[in-house]
């Protein structure tokens, strides 16, 4: 460019085939987009965002499903290939780790079977008059095992994962997802072979929760962090009650177990804040689940669900 300008005798190239700034010959306006095209595409983007904004994205969901039917199995396939490869460092580390890994895998099944129960919470439930209902309720669930095959990037600022079980495994939107340690999240949408799970640490996630020892209710909000610093905020409805550090928080549950079944352990109270301005107590909860290392999860389904894989019933039997 400067070269051309400093040379006074330089012939000004015709518009049809002028020199670009690297000095190579260009055809007329190479690939410069037509204005109508730009406007059309920008409008398309805005329309999509608007459609997704109204009615909770009901208009976009069929599209998501179609794309998911194609890319879901691809993600599962890649994950199946990648899994043994990323496990290699674990195996190489030491014999001790190897033994631990075997133990982990063996105990994971047992934990999955028993995790719907939680000590503090169950003790309270038994003392209550609705013991019969509670028993019926907790026996009414079974788990469909699944693996995490895709994780949304942090750049998207929403904490979602793909699991390799879908409608064929008996899954539906608004089912609870747990793992051996506690509550993972809930299902947003399903395709035939995969499902998208909203993690409880997502900034948009709200879970009805109960402090196990006192049965006080509140709402858990995610912060959008993963990993070791992942925390949840518990906003208690009763502002006079101060939960103590170390208390267990479990889900409170909703009607028909959607989106969250009751009594799933979520985390432990780490610290408590109270502000004079706000009228509610705010407790920081350390979740039991390590969201940066999610792998095997279970989806809570009604007992007797037909599935394309074995279902773990609450009594521990595989079906």
């Amino acid at each position: 460019m400067t070269d051309l300008l400093t040379r006074p005798g330089a012939r000004r190239p015709a518009v049809e085939d002028r020199l670009n700034r690297r000095g190579s010959l260009e055809p007329r306006e190479p690939g410069r987009p037509r204005r109508s095209l730009v406007v059309a595409l920008v409008l398309a983007c805005v329309t999509l965002m608007t459609l997704d904004h109204v009615d909770d994205g009901a208009a976009i969901d069929p599209l998501r499903r179609v794309v998911g039917e194609v890319y879901g199995p691809a993600e599962s396939g890649v994950e199946a290939v990648v899994r043994p490869v990323v496990a290699v460092p674990h195996w190489l580390r030491s014999h001790h780790d190897l033994a631990d890994r075997i133990d982990d895998l063996e105990s994971e099944n047992d934990q999955l079977r028993s995790q719907l129960a939680s000590n503090d919470y169950d003790r309270n439930r038994l003392q209550e008059y609705d013991a019969l209902t509670a028993t019926a309720e907790s026996i009414g669930y079974a788990l469909v095992p699944a693996r995490v095959v895709g994780i949304g990037p942090a750049q998207s600022f929403s904490r979602t994962v793909t699991i390799d079980a879908g409608s064929r495994a008996g899954l539906k939107p608004d089912m609870t997802v747990v793992n051996g340690s506690g509550l993972v999240g809930r299902i947003l949408r399903v395709t035939s072979t995969t499902a998208t799970v909203l993690l409880v640490v997502d900034a948009d996630s709200t879970v009805g929760a109960r402090v196990g020892r006192s049965m006080k209710v509140g709402f858990l909000h995610g912060r959008g962090d993963l990993g070791q610093q992942a925390r949840l905020d518990l906003e208690l409805v009763d502002q006079t009650y101060v939960p103590s550090a170390g208390e267990t928080v479990v889900t409170w549950g909703s009607q028909d177990g959607a989106p969250y079944v009751s009594g799933v352990p979520v985390g432990r109270v780490e610290s408590v804040y109270s502000s004079l301005r706000e009228t509610t107590q705010r407790a920081v909860i350390e979740p039991f689940v390590d969201f940066s290392a999610l792998d095997l999860v279970g989806v809570v389904v009604p007992s007797g669900t037909t599935s394309d894989r074995s279902v773990i019933e609450l009594d521990g039997s595989l079906r």
Binding site: L37, L41, V46, D52, R64, Y71, G152, F157, G227
Partner: protein, 179 residues
């Protein structure tokens, strides 16, 4: 998701090559790279493929392909943000990449800054639409932290992804000198 019937002049091999490149990038981005993620931030492989398309075929093709690739990224599981956000961001990326470099086979020194700039612009546009739509509500500090890591990742991966993609495009259309 490739240029529609309106672009009947676009050769079929190019359409297929870009579709394959975008699909591979998308699946690797959601299934392989989370294992290597830094604080959950993974390299934007799809964005880099769009940059390569912009470099190879110019701004208009980059724009259209960016829209298509972004739409896939918006809809493929486990995405849950408002659809159209990545479409808008990658559209801008394809356009910027196409405008900044239009030489036939650019050298590393030329396209690496373009890739870095495009990555910054793309993640910024996505983040800004998120701020505007409150989807989800994250702080500006968190946003900047993620963006810095993302751009670093993208520049590192651009060294691999962009030559691969450019090579693929050159292979399917060896006779084409210029966009």
């Amino acid at each position: 998701m490739s240029p529609g019937p309106r672009f009947s002049s676009v050769p079929l091999p190019r359409v297929l090559a870009t579709l394959i490149a975008v699909s591979v990038a998308l699946v690797l981005q959601t299934s392989l790279f989370p294992h290597l993620a830094i604080n959950g931030v993974v390299p934007d492989l799809v964005l880099l493929v769009v940059v390569a398309v912009g470099l190879a075929h110019g701004a208009e093709t980059g724009l259209v392909l960016g829209f298509g690739a972004g739409l896939l990224l918006d809809l493929a599981p486990p995405a849950d943000h408002y659809a159209g956000r990545w479409a808008l961001a990658l559209m801008v990326v394809g356009y910027v990449a196409g405008r900044l470099a239009s030489a036939a086979r650019p050298r590393v020194g030329q396209w690496l800054p373009v890739a870095a700039a495009a990555s910054f612009v793309g993640t910024s546009v996505f983040a800004l639409t998120g701020l505007a739509l409150r989807d989800p509500a994250v702080g500006v500090g968190e946003l900047l932290r993620v963006e810095v890591v993302a751009v670093a990742w993208d520049v590192a991966l651009a060294l691999v992804v962009v030559p691969l993609a450019l090579g693929l495009f050159a292979k399917v259309e060896p006779d084409r000198v210029l966009a």
